[in-house]
Amino acid sequence: MNAIEIEHLKKYYGEVKAVDDVSFTVEEGQFFAFLGVNGAGKSTTISVLCGRTPRDGGRVKIGGFDIDGHLDEAKKSLGVVFQECVLDRALSVRDNLKYRAALYGIAGAKFTEKLQTLCDLFDLEGFLKRPVGKLSGGQRRRVDIARALVHDPKILILDEPTTGLDPQTRRQVWDVVHALRKERGLTVFLTTHYMEEAADADRVVILDGGKVLAEGTPLELKNAYTGDFITLYGADESELQKAGLDYEKVGNGVRIFVKNTAEATALILKYPALFTDYEVTKGGMDDVFLAVTGKRGERL
């Protein structure tokens, strides 16, 4: 079953087509990455998904509920963590969770039980009574995610959740999210600027100018939009030139760009004497993203 279904979604601001005929689906339990440069239409799409922004066309289903007519049910399926922390800074962590839970009808004993679960999951006990304004960035993020999950949603939307966080805190955030996926089968819908975070996704959609430019698994995208690199160590450059290979110097060796792994294999078999110390690596998600959004004319 699909957790999210978007068909021909359109959202215009006057002449600007913020989202222009976008369609994609996210399967239940999937880790879905939604990528795009600033202004690509990611936030608008999320805003429509959450029922905050009316759309100009298309159909949206969340957790099996069409947001036309079943918006409340759809909203109950969603937990959202925005890029900017929107917790009430003057209130304690407990109050932030309590007031959010009440909006989903969770109060009294039910909330106490839920709070204990969240404390165990996110290790909040130590600063439960502290005002949010006095927490570190990492602690705040944990509270943010805990609050988004207070009503046990099936889908967690993370809108650039790790922007501005230090590497250690980013790791903490992802450890929690991946643990939740594993334990609860949570569907995660992620937008991010860190391409290495998208590399772990089950499925990736790249948006630009309000349109879907590419979608697939990270491997499919790498295969389609980037090549492989062979890095050669200790090679004689004159031999490379004799063989007519195009290369660039990197660190202790040289790098040769090939279209795919098959071409790399063929090259190694053709010049075995050259390839004594080497490694073959695929292009990263950074390369995919740049190829799709920046240099797509060359490779699409």
Binding site: R52, P54, D72
Partner: protein, 302 residues
């Protein structure tokens, strides 16, 4: 109802936890009282004396002090009920500025519930601050000379609640269109400085130019101020007769200090003041409800 209750609790707690908002709100009435006393106290005292001295009578210092304290406290409450409501509505504006309102809207909570929660919390916070001010005012009036009956106290409480409702409705409508911290600061500054004059709190209507008096009498806040003047000063002014001052001077004092309002030559009885203020509250509530409905309709139409 649970959702609304918790939203109201959240809004109130945010107000009382934010020292930057709470302290000025609590201090504002006290500062205003101090300013009144320091700069205008003698003006009012001499005005009170001059009314009876015109007839060759004199009032004891204690009674003059009682009347003046009644005027000061009633004026203070009349201004606070409206200006504090604007400060309390800061929570709604802050939620817009910080994006918290967008975050709240991803939950199943209805937009109308959210609007009503801001309205109720503004009312509760304003009433709370006004009653603290009223308590401080009563202490001051007791020191100056207590002339209030139980009925006066009861009616004063009712006046404060009604004026708070008026201030809440007024601020809820205005703040709905404010989307920035700068905007609310400008609105607060304008209301704090202008409303006191426009509701007849800072100076008696008799001291105003005729055209201004006519204008002010067309504004509903004036009737709320008039009610407070009547209930907090009426007892002390009536006590003037005990010092041998003829009743016509009592009437003159009441008219001179807005305990009896005059609308284009017609005396305005107390019940009419309540009617005007009540009608104003009803109109504000209707506008508020219509705005909520219009927002909902506007979004559905898109």
């Amino acid at each position: 109802m649970t959702t609304l209750r918790y939203l109201v609790a959240r809004n109130c707690k945010l107000f009382f936890k934010d020292k930057g908002v709470l302290l000025p709100s609590l201090l504002a009435p006290l500062i205003l009282l101090f300013l009144f006393l320091a700069f205008l106290g003698n003006v009012y005292r001499s005005s009170i004396r001059s009314v009876v001295e015109e007839g060759g009578f004199a009032l004891s210092g204690g009674l003059v002090e009682s009347i003046a304290s009644g005027w000061l406290v009633s004026s203070l409450l009349a201004v606070c009920a409206v200006s504090i409501a604007f400060t309390a509505n800061l929570i709604m504006v802050q939620d817009k500025v910080t994006g918290a309102v967008n975050d709240l809207r991803v939950t199943p909570v209805k937009r109308q519930t959210l609007s009503v929660s801001y309205f109720i919390s503004t009312f509760l916070v304003t009433a709370c601050v006004c009653f603290i001010a009223l308590g401080a005012g009563f202490v001051y009036m007791a020191i100056a000379g207590w002339h209030l009956s139980a009925g006066d106290v009861f009616l004063t409480v009712a006046d404060v609640l009604l004026l708070t409702l008026f201030g809440t409705g007024f601020s809820a409508i205005v703040c709905r269109f404010v989307k920035s911290q700068g905007g609310i600061a400008a609105v607060q500054a304008t209301v704090s400085s202008a409303y006191g004059f426009l509701c007849g709190a800072y100076m008696p209507l008799a001291n105003m130019a005729a055209w201004l008096r006519d204008l002010v009498m067309c504004l509903p806040g004036t009737y709320g101020t008039g009610l407070l003047h009547e209930h907090l000063m009426g007892g002390a002014i009536e006590a003037v007769t005990g010092e041998g001052v003829p009743p016509q001077f009592v009437t003159a004092l009441k008219e001179g200090f807005d305990c009896s309002l005059d609308f284009f030559g017609h005396g305005v009885p107390e019940w009419a003041c309540y009617l005007v203020l009540g009608a104003a509250v009803a109109v504000l509530l209707c506008v508020f409800v219509l705005l909520c409905m219009a927002e909902k309709k506007g979004r559905s139409a898109k």
